[in-house]
């Protein structure tokens, strides 16, 4: 028997590093794998059980491998509007946006979250950014080269990041910090818990209501313990994080998003606000404008798969005898109870309900372009 667990891809050249919660994960019985340069928990009791727990209660995820960056200085908004296609000037204090880092040709270097701080947190820095773990050093290098001297970037590698996700996440976090109940989706704020300064946003990447909590590495074990003592909360591994985000229809960088794919085809419309589309002035704007005018060559779509056999990343997608695309994320969806996939297909085959075929180990299986998310989002928005 041989496995080819794609999330357990180990970067053999570099020794894996330990995250601040490493010993905590092991004590909780996690199975650890190499991911993005770190030992990470892939599962505790099993992906199906952990996935279900998060959909019904609240799951605690360690996402400390992600890069947490601070920006401050004169002209920081203008500098970031060159690097990001999003409206940074219009970003109000304690608000967060999904954005992307584009290369000169408009290809996607990373997707990220960007927030305006409140003027006091993190020593008065202006902007807080969370980027993917596997790309963080490349992102930092890319941005440093393009930021003016007046803007300072600080990589907070002594800061851990937890995500608490699920319908009971709000109730659970309020048991420790009652004021967090006032946050709504994509809002963030500073809080103090037992003397520890936290920066908490109401967001996540599972499709559920929930929070991301930035905490000093020295205090993260204490916080993780306090959260897991609550009846609603259990630790959840990377495996379930991936199946949850796939059901939520959210793209994963390095799989569904890459420099090769089109920003407009990725459907991150909400990452590029109207003013930025029209005015431009960001790296990669030419391609974005061209694709807005002409349409992208291909699109990121959801795929419902007939039968029980999952289609994985890399499986070719056919319309009759012609290959029209490729699966970029795929697996068994525990909440849906069937295999699902995300992939890129050429524009004429991207409409909802288009019948396609996916080739898995030489066999064709029937698939249909399906609306995403596969499981409805349950974000807590303003009433």
């Amino acid at each position: 028997m041989s496995g080819n667990d794609d999330i357990a891809h180990i970067e053999e050249e570099l020794p894996l590093q330990d995250l601040p919660l490493d010993a905590w994960h092991r004590a909780k019985g996690a199975r650890m794998v190499g991911f993005a340069g770190y030992h990470m928990p892939i599962q505790y009791e099993g992906i199906m059980a952990e996935h279900g727990w998060t959909r019904e209660h609240a799951g605690l995820f360690d996402v400390s491998h992600m890069g947490q960056l601070l920006f401050s200085g004169e002209g920081v908004d203008e500098a970031l509007e060159l690097l990001l296609p999003s409206d940074i000037k219009g970003l109000k204090p304690c608000r967060q946006r999904y954005s992307m880092l584009l290369d000169d040709e408009g290809g996607i270097l990373d997707d990220l979250m960007v927030s305006r701080l409140d003027g006091a947190a993190f020593d008065g820095a202006d902007i807080y950014m969370v980027v993917n773990g596997a790309t963080k050093y490349d992102d930092i290098g890319w941005m440093i080269e393009r930021l003016p001297d007046e803007v300072v970037m600080n990589h907070m590698d002594d800061q851990a990041l937890l995500a608490l996700q699920g319908p009971e996440a709000g109730e659970a976090l309020a048991a420790l910090i009652p004021e967090t109940a006032d946050l709504v989706f994509m809002q963030s704020a500073p809080f103090i818990w037992r003397g520890v300064p936290l920066w908490i946003s109401r967001s996540g990447y599972t499709g559920e209501d929930g929070f991301e909590i930035s905490v000093p590495a020295a205090d993260v074990t204490l916080l993780a313990d306090a959260l897991c003592e609550l009846p609603q909360v259990k630790p959840i591994g990377l495996g379930a994080r991936d199946s949850l985000r796939l059901e939520a229809g959210l793209p994963l960088y390095g799989h569904d998003l890459s420099p090769a794919v089109s920003t407009i085809g990725a459907d991150p419309g909400f990452a590029i606000q109207k003013r930025r589309r029209e005015e431009g002035g960001f790296i990669g704007h030419a391609r974005v404008m061209k694709e807005l005018a002409d349409g992208p060559g291909s699109k990121r779509v959801g795929l419902k798969i007939e039968g029980r056999m999952p289609a994985r990343e890399g499986a070719p997608i056919y319309a009759g005898g012609t290959q029209v695309g490729e699966v970029t994320s795929g697996g068994f969806a525990p909440t849906v109870g069937a295999p699902i996939a995300m992939g890129w297909v050429s524009l004429p085959h991207s409409a909802i309900d288009t019948a396609l075929e996916i080739e898995v180990r030489g066999k064709r299986i029937a698939a249909t372009v399906a609306p995403m998310p596969f499981v409805p989002h349950r974000y807590r928005r303003k009433a």
């Binding site: 028997m1 041989s2 496995g3 080819n4 667990d5 794609d6 999330i7 357990a8 892939i42 599962q43 099993g46 992906i47 199906m48 996935h51 495996g239 991936d242 199946s243 029980r308 056999m309 999952p310 994985r312 697996g331 068994f332 525990p334 295999p339 180990r361």
Partner: protein, 123 residues
């Protein structure tokens, strides 16, 4: 009946000229929740080491090799409806397929249960 084990985490029960093949409890534990098993059709002939079946967990697909040569005489249809049988009963009801043994000498050199336990402990 004798039971043999491979370093690829298959078990083989031999009764007369028929071998029943499955994956070990250790293997199912490593794979996690199993959601699909692709089994060979009856009448398929394998050489030792051929891809014989595929077991899919939530996250990944893994190949199962034919541990010895032979012809498939039966596949475990119960796994079609209930792939999780491999998790709950890997070494009995969760068997994959039965082979008519092609070359019994290939069984020589495979591990017995004690040797397999020692092998797993060393991993």
């Amino acid at each position: 009946m004798s039971r043999y084990f491979t370093e690829e985490h298959e078990w083989i029960d031999v009764e007369g000229d028929i071998a029943t093949v499955g994956i070990t409890d250790y293997a199912q534990e490593q794979l996690g929740d199993i959601v699909f098993v692709e089994l060979p059709a009856e009448g398929t002939s394998f050489e030792k080491g051929d891809d014989a079946a595929v077991v899919e967990s939530v996250k990944a697909a893994s190949d199962v090799y034919a541990p010895i040569s032979g012809e498939v005489v039966e596949a475990n249809g119960a796994l079609e409806d209930e792939p999780a049988l491999v998790n709950s009963d890997a070494e009995e009801d969760g068997w994959f397929f039965k082979l008519r043994i092609g070359d019994a000498s290939e069984l020589e050199g495979l591990m017995n249960e004690a040797a397999y336990k020692k092998f797993v402990a060393s991993l």
